[in-house]
Symmetry: C2
Subunit: 118 residues, 2 copies
């Protein structure tokens, strides 16, 4: 295969593996979306937000107070979480209450926690 030629000289060794694996790769954009999804979990502020929302729905101001951060920073991050459909919100007068979008998310967090304590 020409596509491997520029990388290694000894391509014939594992050609069988490569052929087989190339056949079962999910489409490019699906893997991109997957990375995009996990990227959202890859920031301490957002992890904290998700964690506290796992305990209770909360307004922006509550979260900012709880995490000791500015309202703007939290609002920006909530937008990211909202875009990835990790949180939902309801408006109540001036306040906006955020909550986890579904139970899926806590389960992913829990699995991550499991892995880092081993």
């Amino acid at each position: 295969m020409e596509r491997f030629a520029e990388v290694c000289e000894l391509m014939h060794v594992h050609e069988d593996i490569i052929e087989r694996v190339a056949g079962v790769m999910p489409p490019e954009d699906e893997l991109f979306d997957l990375a995009d999804f996990f990227r959202v979990f890859g920031d301490t502020t957002r992890i904290k937000i998700l964690y506290v929302l796992g305990q209770s729905e909360m307004c922006v101001c509550d979260i900012a107070g709880l995490l000791g951060m500015g309202q703007s920073a939290i609002s920006h991050q909530l937008r990211v979480l909202k875009q990835m459909r990790l949180v939902k919100y309801r408006k109540d007068g001036k306040a906006v209450f955020y909550a986890l979008a579904d139970a899926h998310i806590e389960s992913i967090l829990a699995q991550g926690m499991e892995h880092i304590r081993e």
Copy 2:
């Protein structure tokens, strides 16, 4: 609570929620490690590497060929994956074969996939 004073004026509204949630927050460094862990999944190249290693163990050169990327780029990313203990490796002569560190990882990937197709 003084820590909330600079954020909002109307702090007394949800003080109860805040007190309760603050009591059950995991330690700062644990949440940091968790974000650190997920950050590794938050890149297309690394997701692809994890995906192909889920199919078969593979040497650096195989991965680079399969993904159509340079050997150096793959090697750099494998170091990140190694540091987070997501992959293990064995040496065989000049080649180094990488594999997923444990089954945990595929399960996390699968859960992510589930979420993005909904």
